[in-house]
């Protein structure tokens, strides 16, 4: 660890893994604090919680033994959707806001590496999305209890894997926000998400005997490229297991989590490489 001492006796410790981690956590903490002081965030969270409560009223339309099921399906649809939407929106704005408000000019000249700053922002946003998902899941659990349902292993796994997917989407948004302006970043991130969600269909089309992706060479090439650069996000979808009440095997959860985190790491490294070379004008 390298320590600098100023003439006035102020000690600065800038080198070493622990100091690097502290800087990353400082940035992450500030990112969390920003959301924590934003009324809009609480507004969105409140609106989402209200929607979940609304599912109780909706469930009255269902047959007697299907009330809990309706609440369960509604929550499993709404929570990941909100988390992904937040990841796209907040991720696309993550760097732009710092540059636009010129706050980055005061931070990057400090003894912090750009990679530490970016990792801190990513970590902060992921923590925020985890809190958001946890808060909504808690609210959902309450509503579910009210309708005679409960938390099962597949539901817990579904929430966990949806969070892994959210981390992936956040890293994609971070990559695009290091490259371009927020609208384009948002559109591109959404594009990657949608392609990822239907990539298993694309794989089927490429293998089918009669489809535009198998018959037209150019489209075949495009399909192959898309399948290479975009992961199969259906990996994180365990709706069938939830529907049937089957336990999701631990090895599947582990493999899916590693798969998602590996893709996230790939996009994060790409974002770091881009951001490291970017002029902050």
């Amino acid at each position: 660890m390298s320590t600098l001492t100023s003439n006035g006796g102020v000690k600065l410790r800038t080198e070493g893994v622990s100091r690097s981690l502290l800087r990353i956590f400082a940035v992450a903490g500030n990112t969390l604090r920003e959301a924590g002081r934003n009324r809009l965030f609480y507004g969105l969270l409140g609106a989402a919680a209200l929607l979940l409560v609304f599912s109780v009223l909706l469930s009255d339309l269902a047959l007697l033994d299907q009330k809990a099921r309706l609440v369960q399906d509604f929550g499993l649809f709404l929570i990941p959707l909100l988390d992904v939407a937040s990841a796209v929106l907040l991720g696309a704005l993550l760097l732009y806001k710092e540059i636009d408000r010129k706050t980055l000019y005061a931070i990057l000249p400090k003894p912090i590496r750009r990679s530490e700053f970016l990792l801190g922002k990513l970590l902060g946003l992921c923590a925020l999305l985890a809190l958001q998902e946890a808060a909504l899941a808690l609210c959902w659990y309450g509503v579910l209890k009210l309708r005679g349902g409960g938390m099962t292993q597949p539901i817990g796994i579904a929430l966990l894997l949806s969070y892994v997917e959210v981390v992936f989407v956040t890293s994609v948004a971070l990559f695009f926000s290091a490259l371009s302006r927020p609208v384009l970043s948002g559109v591109l991130t959404l594009g990657v998400f949608l392609i990822g969600r239907v990539s298993y269909v694309l794989a089927d089309l490429l293998g089918a005997q009669k489809s535009v992706f198998s018959e037209v060479p150019a489209m075949h090439a495009v399909g192959r490229v898309l399948l290479t650069v975009v992961p199969d996000l259906s990996t994180f979808n365990v709706a069938d297991e939830v529907l049937l009440g089957w336990d999701v095997p631990v090895h599947y959860v582990t493999a899916a989590t590693l798969y998602g985190l590996s893709w996230s790491a790939l996009f994060t490294v790409a974002a770091l490489l881009v951001f490291e070379r970017r002029d902050i004008i």
């Binding site: 100023s6 400082a26 934003n38 005061a106 003894p111 590496r113 004008i281």
Partner: protein, 321 residues
């Protein structure tokens, strides 16, 4: 590199690509300068002259297209070199949801300062800058002057050797300007080295030993302020008291010296400017018309005159090109 050289720019240039076709725009061209420990260098130039761009290069916010920068003998991308710098950006913007105390706490953690040191230093620093009573109020309600003080406080937190301030006095009211200027004078007395940009000449004249005048990205003049202002010392000024009668004829005799100009007349006292080579002739004429020589001194340029001459010269050259 000698230990007392804190900052060195060697033929630094920055070209931006703008527009759809990536048209090159040279913001900074081959700027070289050196700042030694304890020195105060003013970076002077009109708006758009490349001051902020070169400061961003020094702090690794942008990469220079050519040349080399050494900060404490290291590349600016080295975080260890930047740890010894306190930077105040032009119109400082901080997270407006934070309080001054939180800003300094955050910045301190980026510098790797201990919690104990921060607890001790932050309130003292905020008190020194007159923010003691506002240290727990969010920045979003702060005036420009108060934000500038927060900016200065965060730049001083790590007790840096070198302060790099970009337009530290712009946008402040007269009282704010005076206070910040006095603070900068105090910092100089404490031994801090200062590199600051401004287009306000009086600030530079008050605070700096050396200047670098930048115009359209080119360093058109640089060196010690006293040397630069005397460098083109080709003229002298004489203050003369004329005899009681025949003022007009005496003035006519004095101004008949080749190149002499009457600068000022107040009753029997006149101020005449002549080329230094013509001073003997002027004194001879003064004796002839019985005028008393009260004062004779080489004329010193004001920084404004120097700046206008250098900047206008470059604009002429640019215009011809």
């Amino acid at each position: 590199m000698a230990d007392d050289v804190l900052l060195q720019l060697d033929r630094v240039g920055k070209t931006f690509r703008t527009g759809f076709w990536g048209r090159p725009v040279q913001a900074v061209r081959e700027v070289s300068l050196t700042l030694h420990r304890g020195e105060s260098v003013g970076y002077l130039g009109p708006n758009g002259s490349g001051k902020t761009t070169s400061i961003k290069c020094i702090l690794s916010l942008i990469q220079p297209s050519s040349g080399a920068i050494r900060l404490f003998g290291k590349a600016p991308s080295d975080a260890l070199a930047r740890a010894r710098v306190g930077y105040l950006p032009e119109s400082p913007y901080f997270y407006d949801y934070l309080t001054p105390h939180e800003v300094l706490d955050y910045v301190g953690r980026l510098y790797g300062m201990d919690r104990g040191a921060l607890k001790n230093r932050v309130p003292k620093l905020l008190d020194r800058l007159g923010l003691g009573k506002a240290m727990h109020r969010p920045l979003r309600g702060f005036s420009k002057g108060m934000l500038q003080r927060v900016g200065i406080a965060q730049s001083l937190l790590s007790d840096p050797d070198l302060l790099i301030y970009d337009e530290p006095l712009s946008g402040l009211d007269p009282i704010g300007r005076k206070e910040v200027r006095e603070l900068m004078v105090d910092l100089r007395k404490e031994g801090k080295s200062l590199f600051f940009s401004s287009h306000v000449l009086t600030d530079i004249e008050t605070l700096c030993d050396s200047v670098c005048i930048l115009d359209r990205g080119v360093a058109v003049a640089q060196g010690r302020l006293s040397d630069l202002l005397l460098a083109d010392r080709l003229e002298s000024e004489a203050v003369l008291e004329l005899a009681a009668d025949a003022h007009d004829s005496a003035i006519a005799a004095l101004t008949s010296v080749e190149g002499a100009v009457l600068c000022e007349r107040a009753g029997a006292v006149v101020r005449v400017r002549v080329p230094t080579t013509r001073v003997p002739e002027l004194t001879r004429r003064a004796l002839e018309v019985q005028a008393q020589l009260r004062e004779l001194a080489p004329r010193r340029d004001s920084l404004e005159e120097l700046f206008m001459r250098k900047a206008v010269h470059v604009q002429d050259v640019g215009g011809e090109a």
